[in-house]
Amino acid sequence: MSADSTAQSTPPPVVQVRDMDFCYGASKALFDINLKVEYHRVTALIGPSGCGKSTLLRCINRMNDRVPSARVTKGEVLVKGKNIHDADVDLTQLRKQVGMVFQKSNPFPKSIYENVAYGLRIHGEKNKSVLDEAVERSLTHAALWEELKDRLQANALALSGGQQQRLCIARAIATVPDVLLMDEPCSALDPISTLKIEELMHQLAHEFTVVIVTHNMQQAVRVSDYTAFLHLGKLIEFAPTEELFTNPREKLTEAYLRGTFS
């Protein structure tokens, strides 16, 4: 497949999906997926609605575990070389390494500080100075520190939509994950907030590996280094973003980029 040919660099991929099939009960949602996600790169998953891009994203931190009949039926998912479905994998540790930001901003109804500190607290961190430092670092990364440093105890739900989504990013990176999964993080935001988050993603890529699902192709062009195109549960093409958009190898990709189907 195309994915193999494009990712030949060192260091090894942080996330690797090998020959994976995924089912919701009897219906197969993903077919024979192969994907390599490079360190400190932004990888975008694009495709029409219902193509399985969110499902693929949720396979990486096993969020699909909560759907009763959903399971991986073939192949494997490796994070930093470790099969995440192995019996000795601790789900809480996996999710600490693979953070996630959702389509709709979902801060807890707590203070801004508590929202960011939540991830550390549940992993047992009690030291106040460590927490303070992590909150400041995360909010700075999320470009919120200057705006919010004076009202860390305010309720997070009082923030604007864009701020809330950046707060969710801050919350996700507070535990210093290796990978940050973003499931259409801008779909509910206005253009200005979207722009801020896109800017943020470039910076985040310096420290984290980002995988983003988006239905907005311009966004994929703007933020990502690699792009994977999915259609009807199959990975059609995976290539560096510039290459995929300017010179798609598959006819299906070309048709989708032209907008002849949706």
Binding site: N61, M63, R66, L91, T92, Q93, L94, R95, K96, G99, M100, F102, K104, S105, N106, P107, F108, P109, K110, Y118, G119, R121, I122, H123, N155, L157, A158, G161, Q164, C168, R171, A172, T175
Partner: protein, 662 residues
Amino acid sequence: MFSTAGFCLISGAPDSRRMNSLPPPSRPPLRSVLLMSRKRTILGLDPQKLIKYFFGSNASVAIIVLVLIMVFLLREGIDFLPTYQRELQTYRRAGLEFCDIIDQPLQRNQALSSSLRQAVSASLETLSKPARDRRDAAFLLKRQVEDKTVQQRESLTQALEKTPPAPEQIEVFRRELGETSVAAAKALVYPAFFSAAESEQLQREFAALTPEVTDLPPLLQTLVAEFSAKDREARTKFAALVQAQEEFEEATEPLQEVVDELKAKALETKEKAVEFEVLETNRQRLLEAAATETDPKEKASLTKEAEESVSEAVNLKESIKEITGRTAELREQVEKYAVVIEKAAAVLPKEAGTGAARKLVNEVREGIPEHAREMRAAAATLEGWRWDKPVSIFSVIGAFFFGTQWITNSSWQDFFGFVPLLSGSLVIAAIAILIATPVSVVAAIYTNQFASEREKELIKPVIEFIQAIPSVVLGFIGISLVGNLIKDVSEWGWLQWVPGFPIQERLNMFNAGCLLAFMAVPTMFSLSEDALNNVPRAYIDASDALGATKLQTVFRVIVPAGISGILSAILLGLGRVVGETMVVLLVAGNRIAIPDFSAGPGVIFQPAHTLTGIIAQELGEVSRGSSHWQALFMVGIVLFAISLLVNWCARAVARRFEPHKA
């Protein structure tokens, strides 16, 4: 004209679209459409509006009924204050209040002397108990023999009384009685504290019992004498205690005599005053009727009747003099009484027969000076007391809301104090909520977050079914099952560290609280479960994605987010508990007194009465419009106010903590 225009407007549209292959849908001409809507009217009204009014009126009926209930309650209850004011005024003017100044604190004397009596008998028993047990056991055995031979004895007695006597018959009966007595005496079980010789002698004596001999058999006489000797010995040993107790009991007599005389006088005045008031009200009514009567003949007869019923008003001023005139004497008696009991306390020995008795004696010794102080203080206030001091409406309100006595149908004076009922209701509600809250909230968390679908299908309907149990059935369970259970458990040896154990009453506040908790669980469970269910899925997603375990998500995210709903569920449960009647009426023990909070947490095992229970119990038996009737309506008003307040709080809490919807 209309129809043509309308047709053109509508039919123009499809043509411009791509559907030119289909024929345009046929529509009735616009004119007939417009006219048709005017035709459908009911009683000249648009049916749409009629339906709207119908729904609106149904909603307003609920509000109107609520307002009517409030108005009715207020109308019946609000007259209570002036009525009670009048009654309290009579209570003062007739001198009853004056007597109570001394009589109320004097009640303490009874409690103290009862403690002393207990101490004395416990002390005496240390010496005399074995002798008494022997005596009592022997008498019991004798009674058993007599019971077994009762038939033969009667036959013999009848034969003996017969004239002329029939010696052969008497002989036959005597033999029969002898045989049965021997058999009965043999069959007895003789307690171990009788020696073998004694048992034998008793058996012989019982076998020889006959109806003619009324004297006790010799050994029984010896046993009686033994006990008297021991008792005398014990009384000598504890002479100081016995004497102190007697002195203490006698001390009250002269004072009580004076108080009783005054009380009788006051009561007489009061009865006269009440009678006069009744006659006077009737007379006023007759006069009013006469004023409105048009028939001159009727009018004359009514007026005449009214004039005839004029009675002489009681001269309160004169009769109160007879009471207040003896103030000095009363004070002197109180002083004497105080001196005597203080002296008794001083000679009260430190030692008593048993530990418990010593404790009682010590309590009394400490209690007497306080009691004497109270009595002296009461006597000092006698001078300041004025019979004609008016009873203000505020003191009436105070007497109701802060009154510590609820006494009805009394020959002396009725008091309608609200505190005993309120305290009972509050303690029971607190117990119920303390029990029900953890149970229902934890059950709700489990059902909502941990239970499988099958468990949910089982747990939810079962808990909600509890609501369908009639409360009177729960009352049965409380009386027959829970009461006995609590009592039995309270007698277990290793549980004696629990305050209040072993309990005295099967029907008590704890029992009622348990049952009410059971009744409140469905409400609190369902509402808490709803509250947890309403926590946005997104919060749980976020927490899971950060690697939280299930328990961390539940306790750090879901419960805090649902806390407003849970709190309002608890408050609504409280509303249910405060308003519940049948269970508390059956199970709470119905003792109208403020629970003795000095007993510490053990107070929950005392019986009490409640706001709801008192209404249910007494309203059916009081005469309509009497002060008692009105007092019960006042209780109803307060109950209504409490329920409104609790519900309002529940709503306020739900609103206050509602998270902003993002």
